[in-house]
Amino acid sequence: MTQDTGKDLAEGPAASTRAVLAERVPLRRVILAALSVLIVVGVTYASWRTLTLPAAEGRLDGTTWRNLVVLGIAQGSIYALIALGYSLVYGILLMINFAHGEVFMAGAFTSFFVAAPLESSGFLDRNFVVSILLLMLVSMAASTLVAVLLERIAYRPLRNAPRLVPLITAVGASLFLQNTFRGFFGPQTRGYPSFNQLEGTWTILGIQVLRTQALVIVTAAVAMVALSLFVARTKTGRSMRAVAEDKEIAGLMGINVDRIIVLTFAIGGMLAGIAGVLFALVFGQVSAFMGFVPGIKAFTAAVLGGIGSIAGAAIGGLILGLLESVVPFLLLKGVHVPSPNQLKDVIAFAILVLVLVFRPGGILGTGEPEKEGMT
């Protein structure tokens, strides 16, 4: 770029004004501005078309919208729980743990093998709270184990390698874990038992909420509050923040960096385990390949909120969940795109790209995806 400007300067005064202008208003800015205007206009137009759709052409009524919003929040809470795993690890190692979706899958899939006998023995319906807690515990244990093994075997030897190297390893680990579970437990999708107590709806503040969704939202909220308290208040939490700030200095201050890193992976695994059970309860099925798409979505959520930040992961998850459930209908119904729900994933990834283009640091970030402390 610089040498271009130099050449222009040498060509004469007219060229130099052009160069100055080019420096003040870089092409990138112009393109970005045009792009954002385009997006705003497009979104406004499409939403307006959808909202003013004649009833005969399938305009969505208020209840449908409300349901979509609740669904989005429930979905978003699960994303948020998984996103925390990405965010915590990224905050400390500056590395995308691409296999985190598989950590989530490991918990959900393993808990199935406890849930199925519990259901057939009738225990599940008799002791609702105990069974839920038991399932969570099993799922958390499995996910934590996988996360810790992953760190120990695949990531620790590469801690000082160039950045692409651990990322490629993580992609490999993701594939490896998927197919390991496929080999262990079989390729078929298994139906997750459902709880009698979770069928039907509750009416909260005048809105009918599916009981499963309510459980998901409450559990996720509790887990996230617990995590923020842990990181903010405890000594270990302080060590985690110190390691995120600077590994070497933290080590000099007497913090066992390896232990903190393992702990971070373990906490990420636990949250993913909780998310696993919730996901299985909502969708009623588990399989070895269930982790991939939620994993990518959760990463998107983490980036959206500002990777490395706990509050960011929560906000990013909720926003992504909401956008994903509402936007396909809001934007595509009105312009007569058939089966808008199919394009849900496109929306999620388009959001990821747009966030990275316009605000790489995410909503709570500073605008650049540079290293920040854990907040």
Partner: protein, 592 residues
């Protein structure tokens, strides 16, 4: 190495070896691979999978450690004892695993771990009762571990021929679907080498292969240096002639290969060729420019769908009828290919432009997102009238030259070969061009490159466009090969397979791509039971290569030289340190 430390290491290695065997059993590989006979009627691939980890654990237990600049090798007797112990631990662990399964009622374990079938237990207990099997496993493990350790402490002069001979014999056994057919086509008798009943090597054949390869390898390790020196000493002209002769021989072999191996194997080679093309394209992006692209399937799909649309393929309606899509041209294949390349390069620019300023790992995820977007779009009902939705497109051209089509395996092999040769030439010229050096500089240090006048924006976009241009050819040929497109062929696994091909061979290395594709695509094609574990293998390859040998199997020459220089530098430094009488104490205390 102190005795107790060696024993501790042996126990640890034994535990790892045993765990690996149990893992292989649980994931189902041992049972599935037990039907593939390698040598005689006893050595199957499944048995080998049980034995190899244990022997490897023994081998690795006593591998020399470098401490304070000195190579420490355990004395032979202690090493063998350590190997024995390692094997006992591994065998004991496996036996314990089998015993645990026996503790549960019949079939209870199988309800969870679907691979723990009676057949598997039969294989792992050698059809014996549990106590006998435990004894056999432990003693056998000890022998294998001891053997591995013994091999490691054998002097280099004998070890190298032995290892080479073992690998060559294994290779012959694994290529059992290819070599007998070649021998048959050459009118040679192969029944003494390969059994017609089991398909594997006969005992005699295995012994002969082993002996011959050991002898050749032994001769080479004695004389190889002289031969190499003689060749190096030849005048320039003769060396060139020699190289040309080698290349010519390789070309002739490649040309007659389909006639030798028949149509089934030609088809496998065709698939390998498609992945070579894709690997070459991805190699430009990942290897040359250092940009990790996980959405490479987007270009594969772009190549396949654009060639289909430009040459008049039809959309399949839900009733099964074929109608032309909403946009359709009727160009000839060879006229359409340049257009397809341009379209793909343009898509490459579109994908590259918004992510230019992102750091490596973000870039990977965004490209992954683009790959998923491509998949969803080709499946969607929205673009159904253009791309056929879930039913896909049919009646794709077979790239005719006059009356000749290229859909059948043998002709297709030549088509793919021609495209691969072209793509290789382009990659090779690019690597040594100004652009290639620019990529190199950018990959090593973006800031420094920018300062010396390599505009990272331009060069990144160039990499994306050129990688896309080559990678889309893979999609184009894929479309020609199968004649109809289904969106299920374009998922993320294509991207990851291509990445594994590039990574295994060595990022930035053109021969590496070929070897990577041969191993990762060709081998599972040859041994059908690998097919189910292909993806597991890819995952393991990605992890193992990155940890053990990040430069890949056949590294890029420039990078290898860099690495080598560093090592030499280090050796010289250590020698100087010893020369001055300094001792380097501690040896990395605290780090484990």
């Amino acid at each position: 190495v102190t005795g107790s430390e060696l024993l501790r290491r042996a126990a640890k290695a034994g535990l790892i070896g045993g765990t690996v065997v149990i893992y292989l059993a649980l994931v189902g590989m041992i049972e599935k691979f037990d039907v593939r006979y390698l040598v005689g009627s006893t050595v199957t691939l499944g048995k080998l999978l049980m034995a190899l980890p244990v022997a490897m654990a023994g081998y690795l237990t006593v591998r020399p450690r470098i401490r304070a600049g000195r190579v420490e090798l355990a004395p032979p007797r202690e090493a063998v004892v350590a190997g024995l112990l390692c094997g006992v631990v591994a065998g004991g662990l496996i036996a314990a695993g089998v015993a645990v399964v026996h503790l549960f009622p019949d079939g209870a374990v199988r309800n969870v771990f679907i691979s723990v079938s009676p057949t598997l237990l039969d294989i792992m207990t050698f059809g014996q009762s549990l106590p006998v099997a435990a004894l056999v496993l432990t003693v056998g493990g000890a022998l294998l571990g001891g053997l591995g350790a013994g091999l490691r402490v054998t002097p280099e002069r004998y070890r190298r021929p032995l290892l080479t001979a073992l690998s060559v014999t294994l290779l012959f056994a694994l290529l059992q679907r290819i070599i007998p057919i070649m021998l048959y086509q050459l009118n040679l008798d192969s029944t003494w080498l390969y059994s017609t009943i089991t398909g594997g090597l006969t005992v005699v054949g295995a012994v002969v292969v082993f002996a011959v390869s050991a002898a050749v390898s032994g001769w080479w390790s004695l004389r190889g240096r002289n031969v190499r020196q003689r060749v190096r000493g030849l005048p320039q002209r003769q060396r060139l002639t020699l190289r040309m002769a080698g290349l010519g021989a390789a070309a002739v072999i490649l040309m007659v290969l389909p006639a030798l191996i028949g149509s089934v194997l030609s088809q496998i080679l065709g698939t390998v060729g498609i992945y070579v093309l894709m690997g070459l394209g991805l190699n430009i992006v990942v290897g040359y420019a250092g940009l990790l692209d996980l959405g490479y399937v987007a270009f594969f799909a772009a190549g396949a769908y654009t060639i289909a649309l430009f040459t008049g393929a039809n959309v399949v309606t839900s009733l099964g009828a074929a109608v032309p899509p909403a946009f359709s041209l009727h160009l000839g294949f060879y006229l359409a290919v340049p257009v397809v390349i341009m379209v793909a390069a343009f898509i490459g620019l579109l994908i590259g432009a918004p992510v230019l300023r992102l750091r490596g790992d973000y870039l990977a995820i965004v490209t992954l997102g683009f790959g998923e977007i491509a998949r969803v779009l080709v499946t969607s009902d929205w673009l159904k009238s253009f791309l056929g939705g879930a039913q896909g497109l049919r009646d794709v051209t077979d790239a005719p030259v006059g009356p000749l089509g290229f859909r059948n395996p043998e002709p297709f092999y030549y088509l793919v070969l021609a495209f691969c040769a072209l793509a290789m030439f382009v990659s090779w010229r690019l690597a040594n061009s100004r652009i290639g050096r620019g990529w190199n500089a950018m990959r090593e240090d973006e800031l420094a490159a920018e300062v010396t006048g390599v505009s990272s924006v331009t060069y990144k976009l160039l990499a994306f466009a050129m990688g896309a241009g080559i990678g889309c050819l893979a999609g184009t040929l894929f479309a020609v090969k199968i004649g109809s497109l289904a969106p299920t062929s374009f998922d993320i696994l294509v991207s990851i397979t291509a990445l594994a091909v590039v990574v295994l061979g060595g990022m930035g290395s053109i021969p590496g791509v070929v070897v990577g594709a041969l191993v990762l695509i060709g081998l599972p094609g040859l041994l059908t039971e690998f097919e189910e574990y292909r993806l597991l293998l890819y995952g393991a390859v990605l992890i193992a290569i990155m940890i053990l040998r990040p430069q890949g199997l056949i590294p890029n020459v420039r990078r290898m030289r860099e690495l080598h220089e560093e090592e030499l530098e280090q050796d010289r430094w250590l020698r100087e340190q010893e020369g001055t009488g300094l001792t380097i104490a501690g040896g990395g205390g605290g780090s484990s």
